[in-house]
Amino acid sequence: MPRFLTGFVDELRQSGVPVSMVEAIDAGRALEHVDLGSRSMVKAALAATMVKNSRHLAAFEAAFEIYFSLLPPPDGTVEAKLRVSSDLAALGMAGAGGEADLDALVEALFLALRDRDSGRIEAAIRRAVTMLAGMEPGRPVGGTYYMYRVLRGLGLEGLRDRLLEEMGAATGSFDERLVLDEIDRRLEDLRAEVRAEIRRRLVADRGPEQVARTLRRPPVEEVDLVTATREDLAAIEAVVHPLTRRLATRLARQRRPGRQGRLDFRRTMRRSLSTGGVPADPRFRRPRPEKPEIVVLADISGSVATFARFTMQLVFAVQSQLRRVRSFAFIDGIDEVTGFFGPGSDFGDAMRRIGSEAAIVWMDGHSDYGHAFGAFIDRYQGVVGPRTTVIVAGDARTNYHDPNQEALGRIAADARALYWLNPEAKRYWDTGDSVMGVYSKVCDEVHEVRNLRQLSRFVEKVALPSTRPVRHSV
């Protein structure tokens, strides 16, 4: 077991779960109190001692599945009983495979899904993987390929339709909806179980280390925002909200009276009356509250669409926490979109409205930073003042238009600080039509922000005034 545990700890660290020495030892101690034959108990013990952040749960789950997939299931569970009786017997089928067999299998799976019989579902899955995945020992093919073959063979769409027909017939639209959600949940579970089954077999074939290496995915914090998949984006969006809460609480804390203020002589003396004239309880003047003001200018053109969506998400969340935030979206024209993110508004709706209602396209819909900044100065005089922090988000690819550095320079001169967040890797800056170098001369700071980790670093920085540069008039 100890050797196995070290491999597992290594794997966790590789996939971004920081497990300290003490925690690994704790895990070992916890295992002493646990029935090692019980998968779920081992899992609970390891999770409770080694994972200290819910964001890392998914990575833990995956690593656990790989490393402990070969542990025997506990006696008495459905799983265990089923392993005893063979897959084929459970389904009443025989033969080496073929059209008729596949039909029978799909039929069995359909019945099992309808009755929500987890034992039969599992047996069917195991049979399906044997029949359809075509796994060959030692072949270096990833699990996704096998997964695809199995799911295609089973024809999930057809199953979904049949389930709907069987379970949702003769009901109104409301009930039908519920049934549909229910069916989708069951099919989602099915996919997860197929994935787990394939993984189990891969591990049995190649050993946990190698499988873990091929299946490892970057933790949410390091997913590239520009090329993120839809699932990645959902995970990212779940993390963005707490992040902005953090930003907001940081900013709010700065505003709370601290002890740093000057001595308040009058109040101290008045207090001292209760202690017979001894100023035992000094009172301090409250430091002047600082009201954070943020203006965000976000490029939402196609080339940075995922990043833009994410920037706007950030704006949306910040705006729900702080009142003095104004947001502007631009492509080659620019328009204020603050109102779209008011209290109670829905993020998806707001994005759609920005697309259809805001005047962000001035000519041809290719980003033109120079024109956008110029238009911002013309139309929104007075928005940026000495207490405003301006954040520009975009890749600075201006399609060979005039960058109009002077316009951005004027915005910067009016502001307290101007930051530029660029979703492109630093090595691509100033190649092709990127004019990052031109703009960075007038920005206070330019940051590469390609993933959440970089973003949170930036957020911390903006939130902490001690590290924030304060410019005096140039």
Partner: protein
């Protein structure tokens, strides 16, 4: 349920059940481990899934007293740990006028003048207690360190009195809504327990346990509806506490089988943002695709 002599996680399930808390296997296993390893549990998860309730149920099931420390920004040592009762000290000083200072000093920094706050109280209690440290993420980072001694070694150091060690080990539950990252030092001392939304079956059972007079059919249907609503991306998905409220509402309205109209009419019990309510209302009205 004797927390120090647990032999099996199933005991925890049964014990908590007697306090009408339906723990799933994972929760029971972590509580079991916490009892065996004598470590605090740090629970995290969305609001309203039963984090605080877990502490309450553990206390009820084990027959221990529950001591609660509600955290908030600005909470300091004197509210969390202990404070000297300086009025009483002052009175004593005045009454003792003329006595030798050394004698008086030893006297006024004694147990008699100590005001125990929740943490010290939990440590000093002769019979074991359950200590709930609620919403620990609201503490400021600087004050978080205050908990470390208590959680790591179950002791409190008071300069004038020395170190007070626990007479009986408290069972500690910390809850957090993850509004900020807790310090590594704190997390290292705790077992971590993420409580998420329950499965449909468990939610149905929770509803049955918490709402007297609820029919199985209705509970089942509510659980299904709530699960389905959680599947949409909402600003604040309904939590267990909200689905319990909703079950009570439907029961009070005498609804046996909620249809689209009743659901839409009572969505405000379940959802707490107008945007979410509008969104679900139009979703539910739309025909299935």
């Amino acid at each position: 349920m004797d927390l120090n002599a647990l032999t099996d996680p199933d005991e925890v399930i049964d014990g908590l059940m007697s306090a009408s808390y339906l723990a799933d296997d994972h929760i029971a296993q972590v509580v079991f481990l916490a009892g065996r390893l004598e470590k605090p549990i740090l629970t995290e998860g969305p609001a309203g899934v039963g984090k605080t309730e877990l502490a309450r149920a553990v206390a009820a099931a084990s027959g221990r007293r529950l001591i609660r420390l509600q955290c908030y920004e600005g909470l300091d040592e004197s509210r969390a740990l202990y404070e000297w009762n300086y009025r009483k000290q002052l009175l004593r000083l005045q009454a003792d006028k003329g006595r030798d200072w050394a004698e008086v000093e030893a006297d006024i920094f004694g147990e008699d003048f100590l005001l125990a706050r929740p943490l010290l109280e939990a440590i000093r209690s002769p019979e074991p207690v359950v200590l709930l440290i609620d919403e620990v993420d609201r503490l400021e980072i600087e004050t978080e360190a205050l908990l470390l001694e208590v959680l790591g070694d179950f002791q409190v150091s008071i300069p004038e009195l020395g170190t007070i060690t626990a007479e009986s080990l408290p069972f500690v539950v910390l809850t957090s809504n993850a509004t900020r990252e807790l310090s590594e030092a704190l997390k290292r001392r705790c077992l971590f327990l993420h409580i998420g939304y329950p499965t449909m079956e468990r939610e149905r059972d929770i509803l049955m346990a918490r709402v007297p007079g609820l029919e199985v059919v209705l509970a089942e249907r509510i659980a299904r509806l709530v699960a389905s609503i959680r599947g949409h991306s909402l600003r604040k998905p309904p939590s267990v506490s909200e689905s319990i409220d909703w079950a009570r509402t439907l029961l009070a309205l005498g609804v046996a089988e909620p249809d689209g109209e009743t659901v839409t009419g009572t969505l405000h019990v379940l959802l707490k943002h107008q945007g979410d309510i509008d969104r679900m209302a139009s979703e539910l009205a739309a025909p299935a695709s």
